[in-house]
């Protein structure tokens, strides 16, 4: 099963909101059964970044890490959400 990671600076507030949004989207698209979602703060997540099909981040990520990272801030502002969902979809199917 593919794995997805949601990260933010503290691992508690914005990633919780983003996790809810991503779950909602994946459920709507019937993709939720194909992915295991995890949540972490940026420091804890760094060493395990290769394990994930995608990472949605609301914080600054290290340079060596950028490949699978999707900017999650649009899911907080409501501006540009469809692009984020599309990127997640592209990493899964």
């Amino acid at each position: 099963m593919k794995k997805g990671l949601i990260v933010c600076g503290t691992g508690v507030a914005t990633s919780t909101v983003v996790l809810g949004k991503v779950k909602e989207y994946l459920t709507k698209e019937d993709l939720i059964s194909q992915v295991e979602l995890h949540q972490a703060n940026i420091n804890d997540a760094h060493s395990r970044s290769d394990d994930y099909a995608f990472i949605v981040s609301t914080t600054i990520v290290p340079d060596d890490w950028k490949e699978n990272v999707i900017d999650g801030v649009p899911l907080l502002t409501g501006i540009g959400t469809e692009e984020v969902y599309l990127e997640i979809r592209n990493k899964l199917v």
Binding site: C8, G9, T10, V12, A13, T14, T16, V17, G20, I42, S57, T58, T59, I60, D71, G72, V73, L76, T77, G78, I79
Partner: protein, 147 residues
């Protein structure tokens, strides 16, 4: 949401705004004494400015171990101050409104957290933010948003 702190601030920098807001939480016993230092430090490394329309908003918060009891502080700034954008510290945001989030346990308060972010995404809500008269008016606006 049942309660919120509300402040009207005239400040020149984000540090002044954050200090005033943290002081309110510390003085009322909602957070630990090191909350202010943590907020200021975290804002440097992990900025919380959000480019919402028509006003920039910031949502400073820290690890819940610095929180004694959950509370949210809302500040309306007389003049905007510059924050860096969340996830992109090269980008400056003129912030007019700040929601400081002090949550004891974010999963327990998930509904409040989600509601606040839904508020920020709601253009009608955002347009009314600069006409807020008092705390009960603000709570009414927040609670009118459907989760």
């Amino acid at each position: 949401m049942k309660d919120i702190f509300m402040m009207n601030l005239t400040v020149g920098t984000k540090e002044q705004a954050l200090t005033a807001m943290c002081s309110m939480l510390i003085n009322t016993g909602y957070v630990t004494a090191d909350f202010m230092e943590e907020i200021l430090k975290r804002e440097q490394g992990f900025p919380t400015g959000l480019p919402v329309q028509p006003y920039g908003v910031a949502v400073p918060h820290v690890d819940s171990k610095h929180v004694i009891e959950s509370q949210v502080v809302f500040a309306a700034l007389k003049k905007p101050v510059v924050f860096q954008q969340m996830g992109n510290n090269q980008q400056n945001i003129d912030v007019s409104f700040i929601f400081m989030l002090a949550f004891r346990d974010p999963t327990e308060h998930l509904q409040h957290l989600q509601k606040l972010f839904l508020c920020l995404q709601d253009t009608a809500f955002m347009q009314q933010l600069n006409q807020i008269k008092n705390k009960s008016h603000l709570l009414q606006l927040i609670n009118n948003i459907e989760t």
